[in-house]
């Protein structure tokens, strides 16, 4: 609440959310958060949750929960009813802000009180806030976000107020935004980057425009309608946005107001980012790497670094385009082997991070932190000699063939660079002889064609031969979730028949 209180005191009349003309001001947002906190406190729950698309109710509930010293839990509304209900019962007793178009989800769960978005907006409209009395130590839990692990039940990652405040103060200047700026947030409420974007933009005084359901043409139209100056997307969104802009042709209107575009949440295919850099020559691109457990961004590849890498003939500099950039000044990064020992520069291992914004805490589970405060990310990667962090993918996704570790990312990069290929994934399936066999799962561009041998040759030519896919499977599309993550588990399960059923 400190961030919002400063915003309301410092620039309360600026528009915080919505259209430049008539949107919710910071003072309105502050007052609404206060009114919401009264309702949340009187409901008597231990948590405030949301199972709804983005709307003004999101920042109001986020800050209202903070005012009431209750954790805010944005839930994945895309989950099937049973799974959503299971998450809700884990945070019961709780007030859950719901989608008015799906009022009956989550009824009848012990301790769960439902408050429709309309109901919330009605009760905060024009209401006076109570006296400020939120906890000032920063130790209270601000957010709990359920993260999907590869096995078992989702774990609730805990972010305390001090983690989030530390992240914002370390990367944003108070009132650093000019009044003509506007940020477009199109990730769902349960994506940590969306929460981080709200907090950062409130503190900077930058108006937030929300796109509750992503569609690339709607995104492009909204950037133009609201003169959006900055936006944050996941890689799959950028691929679709590039298709729309491409289709408008070289004389298309482009996105002249878009001063900066940041992306993260997964690996960015090089064809997409390169095309985006060409289509948007005056836009500053930022790659932000981070996890839920680290309050989002811990490393950045900045705008100049993107352009320099694009233009460079030096392969080492060019390779930075595929990197996560350099760690934030407030963050330490180390690459460790299986035993937890530091590896040499340039060597691959697991990425560990440490810093004030890093939590690593889970509700009801042991924290994932070493005794000296390092958080092992479960991401594989390496640091180059210039201090750039390269992320190769989740270590759980590494394919182990013939005793060798094969990162899917490298294979996928080569496949996606083939002109006929729109998207690709590499997964490992059981193989009696090799342990795992490499399956390339490929989506071709409409009307394009490529033979499996052509694609296997492409990989063999660029990478070591043990990375050549054993089989190429053509599919219509790859499964992604709302936060842009490729669902490898789903692929492995759907294509299990391509393995030989052996185990271990």
């Amino acid at each position: 609440m400190m961030l919002l209180e400063m915003a309301a005191d410092g620039f309360g009349d600026r528009v915080a959310l919505g259209p430049a003309d008539g949107g919710l001001t910071y003072r309105d947002l502050y007052n609404s958060a206060g009114a919401a906190s009264v309702r949340f406190r009187s409901d008597g729950g231990s948590h405030v949750a949301m199972a709804d698309l983005s709307s003004a109710a999101l920042p109001i509930s986020l800050f209202g929960a903070a005012w009431a010293d209750l954790p805010f839990v944005p839930l994945n509304y895309r989950l099937p009813d049973g799974e959503l209900a299971s998450l809700a019962s884990r945070i019961s007793p709780a007030t859950v802000v719901t989608d008015p178009d799906s009022p009956d989800r989550l009824t009848g769960i012990d301790g769960i009180g439902l408050l429709s978005r309309h109901g919330l907006m009605g009760l905060v409209d024009g209401a006076e806030p109570p006296e400020p009395e939120w906890d000032m130590t920063g130790e209270g839990t601000a957010i709990e976000l359920f993260t999907s692990g590869t096995t078992g039940e989702p774990k609730a990652a805990v972010l305390r107020h001090r983690h989030l405040v530390s992240y914002v103060l370390g990367s944003v200047e108070f009132m650093g935004a000019h009044e003509d700026e506007a940020a477009l947030v199109s990730v769902p409420p349960y994506h940590v980057a969306g929460i981080a974007a709200i907090l950062s933009n409130v503190y900077a005084g930058r108006r937030v425009v929300q796109l509750p359901t992503f569609a690339a043409d709607d995104w492009v139209a909204l950037v133009r309608a609201e003169s959006v100056t900055s936006a944050m997307v996941v890689p799959t969104m950028l691929t679709r946005i590039v298709e729309v802009l491409n289709a408008e042709g070289p004389d298309g209107p482009g996105l002249p107001t878009l001063r900066s575009l940041s992306y993260g949440g997964g690996r960015m295919p090089s064809p997409t980012i390169q095309r985006a850099l060409e289509l948007l020559p005056t836009t500053a691109f930022v790659n932000a790497y981070g996890l839920t457990e680290t309050s989002s961004t811990v490393a950045l590849l900045g705008p100049d670094e993107h352009r320099e890498a694009m233009a460079s003939a030096d392969p080492a500099i060019r390779a930075r385009l595929g990197s996560a950039g350099r760690p934030l000044p407030t963050i330490e990064v180390t690459i460790r082997d299986d035993l937890g020992d530091e590896v040499a520069v340039g060597q691959p291992g697991e990425i560990w991070v440490r810093g004030e914004q890093v939590s690593g805490e889970y509700r009801g589970s042991a924290p994932r932190l070493t005794a000296d405060g390092w958080f092992p990310t479960h991401d594989g990667g390496w640091m180059d000699a210039d201090g750039y962090l390269h992320v190769t993918g989740r270590i759980d996704d590494v394919i182990v063939k013939g005793g060798q570790n094969v990162s899917p990312g490298g294979i996928e990069e080569v496949l996606v660079s083939h002109p006929a290929v729109a998207d690709a994934a590499a997964i490992g399936l059981p193989d009696r002889q090799w342990g795992e066999r490499i399956i390339a799962v490929v989506v071709l561009h409409p009307a394009a064609s490529a033979t499996p041998d052509e694609l296997r040759d492409a990989v063999r030519d660029r990478l070591r031969s043990n990375r050549t896919p054993d089989h190429v499977e053509f599919v219509a599309s790859l499964p992604y979730n709302d936060t842009g993550k490729l669902l490898r588990r789903v692929l492995r399960s759907d294509l299990a028949h391509l393995g030989d059923g052996s185990t271990g």
Partner: protein, 103 residues
């Protein structure tokens, strides 16, 4: 003398200034308007008094203040009439260097 750690919050005893610690460790004689600052809690306010001469330049919300070594950095969360210091030595406004925002 308060123990400083990142995230801890302090309030002036002689004006409306409040700060949050961005960098700092150990026991530091954090002052505002020449008087020791108090740990902030809801409802804590100045108990009257005035900033001392020489420490009444005022603080600005959102600005960062540092000691010469930059081992202590505090950010002003509420402005006031006093000036921040460590003991009698006043803190300076931190040089504005662009921060690497990504959101």
């Amino acid at each position: 003398m308060p123990a400083l750690k990142p995230g801890s919050r302090f309030t002036s005893s002689v004006c409306t200034t409040q700060v949050i610690v961005v960098k700092g460790a150990g026991e530091v004689d954090l002052t505002c308007g020449g008087a020791p600052m108090l740990a902030a809690a809801a409802g804590t306010a100045a108990d009257g008094g005035q900033p001392a001469d020489g420490a009444s330049g005022g603080t600005l919300m959102g600005k960062r203040y540092v000691d010469p070594d930059e081992t202590v950095e505090v950010l002003c969360t509420k402005p006031g009439d006093g000036s921040l210091g460590i003991g009698d030595a006043l803190l300076d406004l931190k040089d504005a260097k662009p921060l690497p925002a990504s959101d």
